[in-house]
């Protein structure tokens, strides 16, 4: 039935997406909640939380305040923190409880801005939607508030958009993409949500290229295209074929050329007839390219529980609204290879083809976040040799 989940855990919620994008920007971030929502983010959605000094707090909302609509207490608490710890900005996020009582986050933001003199961002997050919506909004808000006007010449600068750990893992993959982009001639590589601070983000208008590595980076890439005419490309270079294409396109933006590095490794023809990649749309699409170019699999579908953009959609792709949608899709289609978070495997019947584990932090949280397979610029790491042959079906 709709909304009933028997196997999968709840996915990372919208407020976690916002927090993740803001994590490294040295602001004071407040989730207006009783503490459980903040605990979701700090304990289960943010691998960087341990050992960090990010100022992300719970407002400590209590019933009596909620019922009385006592927003003044919240404002005072935030002002106390602002005065104690100087930071760049304040961000105020909603959660289910303020959503029910209808707290006006924008109005509180205006008051806080007037009182603190700091930029104040507000987000109507509710815990009902998923992280990708929150992260997408957060990227846009950052761009609107912090990117400076730019009329000068474009620089050898590239922004990586969408690079939060919920999608991209703890940082290795983003660093690997950065290395490839440097080889393409970019001297400045700023990954929003990872290494880029507000100072780097403020220069975004000077970029020659924006690289979108997850759905959450798409809206801001379009915004930057509209305001600064910066072209953007979408995708993560996985495997040799994709990496060659990626490097050619990226360096051509700077008027340079790169030589293909190596030729793709192809499996014997027809090893696999059709494959399914389950995951965040951009990552899943990039794995699709890898399967096509390096492994020669013709039919590869993408399915996702998270938002999917029309521009990246191909025929056969499937937006999954419910747990049941995934099991019935796999029953209907005859996939002999499936790639996705290990937890999806529980939903598939016994008679499936090969399943390659590719953890997604927004799904399986800390269960696998310490062992993400490397994939940038090469084929998926840690594949067993038996994958060269298809699974025998009974």
């Amino acid at each position: 039935m709709k909304g009933l989940y028997k196997y999968l855990p709840p996915f990372a919620p919208d407020y976690s997406g916002v927090c993740s994008v803001l994590f490294n920007l040295n602001g004071i971030v407040i989730i207006h909640d009783a503490s459980g929502c903040t605990g979701n983010f700090t304990g289960y959605d943010e691998p960087r939380w341990y050992g960090s000094n990010a100022a992300i707090f719970s407002s400590g909302l209590r019933e009596i305040e909620a019922v009385l609509g006592d927003d003044e207490r919240l404002i005072n608490r935030i002002m106390e923190a602002v005065e104690r710890m100087p930071r760049n900005f304040v961000a105020l996020l909603g959660s289910p409880a303020p959503a029910v009582i209808g707290v006006d986050m924008q109005a509180l933001a205006r008051i806080l801005k007037a009182r603190s003199g700091l930029p104040v961002l507000s987000f109507d997050t509710t815990g009902i939607k998923y992280y990708d919506t929150g992260a997408s909004q957060a990227y846009l808000e950052i761009a609107r508030n912090f990117v400076k006007p730019w009329n000068g010449k474009k620089q050898a600068l590239v922004n990586i958009l969408g690079a939060i750990p919920l999608d991209m893992g703890k940082g290795k993959r983003v660093r690997d993409i950065g290395l490839l982009l440097r080889q393409c001639g970019f001297s400045k590589v700023y990954a929003w949500g990872q290494n880029a601070g507000l100072k780097e983000i403020s220069q975004a208008g000077a970029a020659s290229l924006n690289l979108v590595v997850a759905y959450s980076g798409l809206a801001v890439a379009r915004y930057l295209h509209e305001h600064f005419a910066t072209p953007y490309m979408v995708g993560i270079p996985i495997g040799q074929g994709s990496t060659n294409q990626f490097m050619r396109t990226a360096s051509s933006v700077l008027g340079l050329e790169t030589q293909p590095r190596t030729t793709p490794y192809l499996l014997p023809p027809n090893t696999y007839a059709q494959a399914l990649v389950i995951g965040e749309q951009v990552m899943a699409g990039s794995i699709r390219s890898f399967l096509r170019l390096d492994w020669g699999i013709r039919k590869v579908d993408v399915a996702s529980f998270f938002a999917m953009d029309k521009e990246l959609w191909e025929e056969g792709d499937k937006f999954l609204e419910e747990e049941d949608d995934l099991s019935s899709l796999c029953q209907r289609e005859n996939y002999d290879l499936i790639i996705g978070d290990p937890l999806y495997e529980n939903l598939l019947g016994a008679n499936q083809g090969r399943f390659i584990h590719f953890p997604h932090v927004a799904v399986s949280s800390r269960l696998y976040w310490d062992n993400e397979p490397a994939c940038v610029g090469k084929q998926l790491e840690g594949l067993s040799s038996e994958l060269k042959t298809p699974a025998r079906r009974t």
Binding site: P9, P13, S35, R73, I128
Partner: protein, 435 residues
């Protein structure tokens, strides 16, 4: 950038407590959630009911930490989620949908003996009647059903979730008139360790068996707790459960807490003697434990220890015990001060007036790692996190020491911790703490 972390000396805390303070951090501050925050969580405690399943009804986000912990610790397959959307919030139709969900779940698994339906903060605000829902589902399927609440929004009230959940799991027990010379232990998440002298002492006094929900392997075992004539509350979290059972099941109770100091342990035993009308010969255990303390004190040397609140103990009592064993305790991390802590705070303030008490939750703790506090050992993942060079003994809720065995097992765990090669982060994430 940094600001000094908020703290009180134990002497300042003593004065504050005398003037009525119950928490270091009042409502005037935002709350920091260090990675070490959290405990068993409502879901895990709720699933202590043997042969039960839980339906968790909430916006998608709310159940995430509980579900991941469930996957880590192996209870996910007894846990089902029904997500509440915007329309549900307005119309309250999720209560009807919960009934449909139960039907679908029951059709897909072997019949459970009990069902717990868990609501969250939003249903507190909507004043949704889950107790009524539980009653209706119970009537429909003839399976015992109870409601419970994961509602941190009620944390500062008279019925905080960590107390109501312990009550809820004991609400399945039916009232039985005919009592046995048996007792139930309440308040802890695990049954008392088999190695504790407590069992021997009780059996010697004719009190047997000693029951605890976590030791029940079937739902019928849980129901047999209704036959016990007395409840022993060993941790404050079981207070509402004990009060409920006294009233509804006619089982009186007393509070005889888990303690680590020899005198406090002896006092708990004396209380049990009085309340149960029995006599317990504990002298030999007292002496043996005294010797053990001296032995471990020599092995460990005069180490300094930070005490956290995320432990299976009252932090002030534990600090007092450690000082009386001959160790130093320069730092305590805790937010809450219970009535029962007063005496220990006074004792500490008299002997070590400069002990610093931090609260895990103050916003200034975000910068705490810059402090680089040095101790040899930390007890509790929170103390271990904030004193990052120290070895950590978790003293977790997963196993329950009691009586003189508590002092012995604490010292053993401390010794093991001093030689433990595992990283704090690795151990802490493996524990599946839920805030």
């Amino acid at each position: 950038m940094a600001c000094a972390p908020y703290s009180l000396s134990i002497t300042e805390l003593k004065t504050a407590v005398e003037s009525g303070t119950r928490k270091l951090l009042d409502g005037g501050s935002l709350r920091y959630c260090p990675p070490s925050a959290g405990g068993w969580g409502i879901i895990r405690v709720g699933l202590l009911v043997p042969e039960s399943i839980m339906l968790f009804v909430s916006p998608a986000g709310c159940g995430r930490h509980g579900a991941i912990a469930g996957l880590q610790l192996g209870f996910r397959q007894r846990l089902f989620f029904l997500y509440v959307d915007e329309v549900d919030l307005v119309t309250g139709r999720h209560l009807e949908r919960a009934k449909e969900a139960v039907e679908e779940i029951l059709a897909s698994i072997s019949r459970p003996r009990a069902i717990m339906i868990c609501a969250t903060c939003i249903d507190d605000l909507l004043v949704s009647d889950y107790e009524k829902l539980a009653e209706e589902v119970e009537n429909d399927y003839r399976i015992p059903v109870r409601a419970c609440h994961m509602n941190p929004i009620a944390m500062d009230g008279k019925k905080p979730p960590q107390l109501t959940i312990q009550k809820a799991i004991h609400e399945f027990i039916p009232a039985v008139k005919q009592k046995e010379q048996a007792i139930n232990m309440l308040g802890s998440f695990a049954a008392i360790n088999r190695g504790s002298e407590f069992y021997e002492l009780m059996a010697g006094a004719g009190v047997s068996p000693v029951r605890h929900i976590a030791a029940c392997s079937t739902f019928d075992d849980l129901c047999s707790m209704g036959r016990s004539f007395y409840n022993v509350l060993i941790k404050p979290g079981g207070k509402l459960a004990a009060e409920y059972m006294a009233k509804a099941l006619n089982i009186p109770y007393c509070y005889a807490p888990v303690s680590y100091g020899l005198e406090a342990i002896a006092a708990s035993y004396r209380k049990l003697e009085e309340q149960l009308g029995i006599s317990l010969d504990t002298a030999a255990y007292y002496e043996k434990t005294e010797k053990a303390i001296n032995y471990y004190r020599k092995i460990l040397g005069s180490i300094s220890i930070a005490v956290g609140e995320n432990i299976n103990a009252c932090p002030f009592e534990l600090a007092r015990a450690l000082l009386s064993y001959g160790f130093e305790v320069p730092y305590i991390f805790t937010d809450q001060v219970l009535d029962i802590d007063r005496e220990n705070i006074n004792w500490l303030a008299e002997r070590r007036p400069h002990i610093k008490v931090f609260t895990n939750a103050h916003p200034s703790m975000a910068n705490f790692l810059d402090e680089k506090l040095k101790v040899d050992l930390a007890i509790g993942f929170d103390a271990g996190y904030f004193c990052s060079g120290a070895k950590t003994a978790a003293l977790s809720m997963d196993c329950q020491a009691y009586g003189f065995e508590a002092a012995n097992s604490l010292l053993k765990e401390m010794t093991l911790a001093m030689n433990n090669p595992h990283s704090h982060r690795e151990q802490m994430y493996a524990a599946g703490l839920v805030l």
